[in-house]
């Protein structure tokens, strides 16, 4: 296996172009090292951790620009992430263990494109975008279209994620990230649900609702029909019940060693309900009528 530590994005892209499918990008390594041991060794490992400028968190007007090499623990301990992006912060806080959070990177969690990637449902509801570098040039893509299947994204084998731009949610909005797993620590989510609710000025109706679902479809998804159902309506218990059932029907979970598909659907329903109730209460100071 060949091994490189490129010092620039351009050098990394040249290596990816040269080695094609044989190349594997590694940053924290918490997933890639396991693949090397138990699946297969790539022809070439491109360690991007020595590229300067990819590890900062910076405020940019109404959003946070996050470097892909920022570790999950750096996210968790960053004041701006905690205060401005609490839904994403919560996912980072619940991520694996401290040891893994000290090593794993946000860029790795995204590019791994696992349906259960902890930060992905929050990034979808926050409508975050990635800056993708290719040999032919750079493009910005919303994560809404980035994920294409388990382990597949529009970054392919030739691109590099160089920045994550996460817009601050609308003033007055509140959200939660709810994870269902057997253990608190170290467990991969059976289901992860991110909810963000913006009430109207009078705090009577839902102005905007966003629901992100993790681990219940080939990619993390938005429950967009459910969101449309909620928009413009007063958030009553009856509406929440209807929305929770719809959210479950928008999921298409598989059965695996962690749980059956049927069970996952029940959990999507329960967490959507809980997420909407909690977010509404936090945003309006009122219980759901």
């Amino acid at each position: 296996m060949d091994y490189f530590e490129p010092k620039t994005v351009g050098d990394a892209l040249s290596l990816l172009a040269k080695y094609g499918e044989q190349a594997k990008v590694i940053a924290g390594g918490t997933d890639v090292m396991v693949d090397i041991k138990y699946k297969e060794e790539p022809g070439c490992l491109v360690n991007i951790k020595k590229i300067p400028g990819l590890g900062a968190i910076q405020e940019n007007g109404g959003s946070l620009r996050i470097g892909p090499l920022v570790t999950i623990h750096e996210m968790e301990t960053n004041k701006l992430v905690r205060e401005r992006l609490p839904v994403l912060w919560e996912a980072c806080h619940q991520f694996a263990s401290l040891q893994i959070r000290n090593t794993a990177t946000i860029g790795g969690n995204i590019c791994r494109a696992s349906p259960s990637g902890e930060t992905l449902a929050p990034l979808l509801v926050l409508e975050a975008k990635g800056k993708l570098a290719f040999a032919e040039g750079e493009k910005t893509e919303a994560f809404a279209s980035f994920f294409q299947g388990p382990g597949k994204s529009s970054i392919g084998s030739k691109g590099l994620l160089t920045e994550i731009d996460v817009p601050y949610p609308a003033p007055g909005s509140r959200g939660v990230y709810l994870k269902h797993a057997v253990r608190g620590a170290m467990d991969i989510a059976m289901v992860g649900v991110a909810v963000l609710v913006t009430p109207d000025n009078a705090k009577n109706n839902v102005q905007d609702a966003r629901i992100g679902l993790g681990a219940v479809a080939p990619t993390p998804i938005r429950a967009s029909k459910t969101e449309a159902l909620l928009r413009g309506k007063p958030l009553t218990a009856a509406l929440i019940k209807q929305a929770a059932a719809m959210s479950a029907s928008e999921s298409s979970p598989i059965s695996d060693q962690r749980s059956s598909g049927e069970y996952r659907r029940w959990i999507v329903e329960a967490l959507t309900r809980r997420g909407l109730e909690q977010s509404w209460r936090a945003a309006t100071g009122k219980e759901v009528a």
Binding site: M1, D2, Y3, E5, I26, G29, T30, D31, M33, V34, I36, K37, Y38, E41, L45, N47, K49, H73, A96, S97, L98, Q99, I100, N102, T103, G184, A185, M186
Partner: protein, 154 residues
Amino acid sequence: MSLTINTTINGKSVSASAEASTSLLEFLRDTLEYKGTKLCCNTGECGACTIIYNGKPINSCVTMAADANGAQITTIEGLADGDKLHPVQQAFIDTGAVQCGYCTPGYIISVKALLDRTKKPTAEDIEEAVSGNICRCTGYAKIVDAINLAAAKL
């Protein structure tokens, strides 16, 4: 592809070669003979291989040996001062927090890292610090006792 790795382990400069695919755990145990750091799940889930890397606890089994280049590493062998055990090690003995002992080096490293961060850990700090370490023997209560004892003595 063989790499030359220059690193600092428990304050000592070390230089050795490793294959690019080698984990830091294999490098420590098999190349450098630091056998105190344990191989267990080998997938980053159990914490038996925990070391302190540039001040932070990490799982060495899912870290590249190549990343040791230029790093400061502390393993369990670096804690005792000659024959005198580190207060965290002594606390694990005094409270009976060791049974089969296989997870113990990883725990002690996680606790050392915790007490380097904070002198007076809360119950929540303790739970977070060792939630990435699995012990199949003790039921955890005595480990928490050991951490509280070590914190009181340090």
